[in-house]
Amino acid sequence: MRKFIDKIENFIFVIPALAFFITFSIYPLFKTLQMSFYQWDGITKNMIFVGFKNYIDAFKDPVWLKSIKNGFILSFLALIFMNSIAFLLAILVNSGIKGAKFYRVIFYIPPILSGIVVGYIWKWIYDPNFGILNGLLDILNLSHFKRAWLSDVNTALISVSIASMWQGVGGSFILFLAGLQSIPEDLFEASRVDGATFWQQFFYITIPLMSRTLMIVSILTILGAMQLLTIVIPLTNGGPGFETEVPALRIYKEAFSSYKFGYATALSVLLGIMLFIISLVQIKLRKVD
């Protein structure tokens, strides 16, 4: 009896947190799933049940598929270039260079800026007529490389990617730095005594001990790149054509421009499932390692 009362007591203490979780996490999730089976304009009360039609349409929608493809390209570029730069910077700062604290702060400024602000900063940099990038090319006598970076179908996505990597590099840098600082120094000392070179230390101590951090950073990078939105709106709004269309922007436009709220929620569910699977695969792969 006493045990039962204890359990009830414990349960009572959990109720507020549970109610909060159900209201703000479980219910919206359920509601999103439910809405994805309806045709609804997002305002009127007229909701029509359409079964899996929204999901079937999504797989036939070339713009949605293009946005997914762009999302993967952005993820790939961020995984390779952004994380390499972030890792390099973290190693440099961790090596005890002068002003390490200063750099740590400086590198973390872009991630705390709003995406819209970053978008406008880079829009100004890329401006074809008066931007500093084309201005710099003029100064360097490289005028033949000048172009409308965001309006050119060949450079628009890369330009968006560079802007988003500039913002994201600080976040990965901080995580890498924390990972590097958690590696015991005596491992490096022992390896030095055994005559290990810098590269041997890097490949046989740093990388293996950083594998957990690398996995977390790569998951966060993919999640971030696939959900890119605020930076794209001021830069290109998905243009030219659909060249820089990204999944989150597509969902936003379907919901708020095309009045297809049910379809937009179906796209959200698909994106959520996709990101969940990617994260799961990465975690499983690490366990296999």
Binding site: I43, S151, P240
Partner: protein, 421 residues
Amino acid sequence: MRRLLGKILGIVLVLTIVLVLSVSYGKETVKITIWHYLNDRDKLLKTLAAQYYLKTGVRVEFQLYSGDQMGAKIRAAAQARTLPDAWTGVGLKGDLSRLAQAGNILNLTPYIKDWVSRFPENIVAQVTFTKDDGFNVEPGTYGIPLDVNNMQFLYNKDLFKKAGLDPNKPPKTWNEFIEYGKKLKAAGILPFATGFGTWAGLTMIQPYEFAYLGEEKLNAARMGKITFKDAGYVKVLNLLVEMRDAGMFAPGTATMDLPTAEQMFANGQIAMIFDGSWAIGVFKMMNPNFKNYFVFFPPKDERASYQALIPGGIGAYFVVNKDSKYIKETIEFIKWLTDVPQQAKYAKESFNLPANKNTIDPRTLGPQIAEFVKGMDRVYSYLAPYKNPRTEEILIKGMQLIILGQKTPEDVVKEMDEANK
């Protein structure tokens, strides 16, 4: 005894003070919240609201939001039922009808029966639903107009002169327009830009949609009754090809937003822009020294059979939240705001055409405004919604790719027809 009496009196005094304070604290003060997107008029609207507070004691708070994102904000707030007391409407009947059907906006007819005669009938008609108009909304007027506008081309006289063109003779025909563009380009001047990255690019080709297709065919195509191909829409998009081949587009125009194009025009960096009458106030805000520019009606294309009609009519207008706690007070404020003295101040300070026809003659506000006033007679009255709203996006994106030479008008028309099935 005396001490006890003193204590009792003290307690009574404290209780009285607490009671008086709580009553005055709890007394409801009317505070109306209005969302708007009129970036260049934010300060003016707040000044007028402050005047109204001094006059009536009713607080009105104007909250400014980005024009491009305000539609999304309203739709999200409509779902969450967190709309403000009033807001400047975004879009016209298509958007309004959804909000009206969902019970988000108030049918203003009973409240503004006497007031509505102050505005031109064709302007009020743009926010009024009738019994058999197909929108399935309770008949009535759902908006109160603040200003009227229309969209035309504007040009920089100094840059025209620099290119050897007569600054007092803007192009009258499409051929002249293209020739002027070539001359400007040859003189090292960027000839033209507008907001092709957003909705504004669409408005530039609308006069030619009417000119080439005529009202009947254009609306039939938009509603999906005939294809855009059969309606002859390729000819409309070919105009962009002609502009592109003449080198008229400033670099980056394909994804440019309207404020960027406006800033370039106000800074004297482009010679021509397609913009609305509101832009006069915007240019003044961006560059107060920029005055030597003028307006011209979309140049006539000799190949087109119909008359070109320009976008415009009702400009900014207010709608009222059906669930507002202060419906009466909100409508009273909007009436005050659209009354003659306030409309005169609004027109003089913002250079917008006032909606109240009893206000000052806007032509007295300057030659550019006077030219825009002339255009009010050539504004189209009705444009059918697309059968599939995504067709509009396909068109915007297609126009961008035509400007870049990545797609042909035929490709874009084909995609529009596929989307609008």
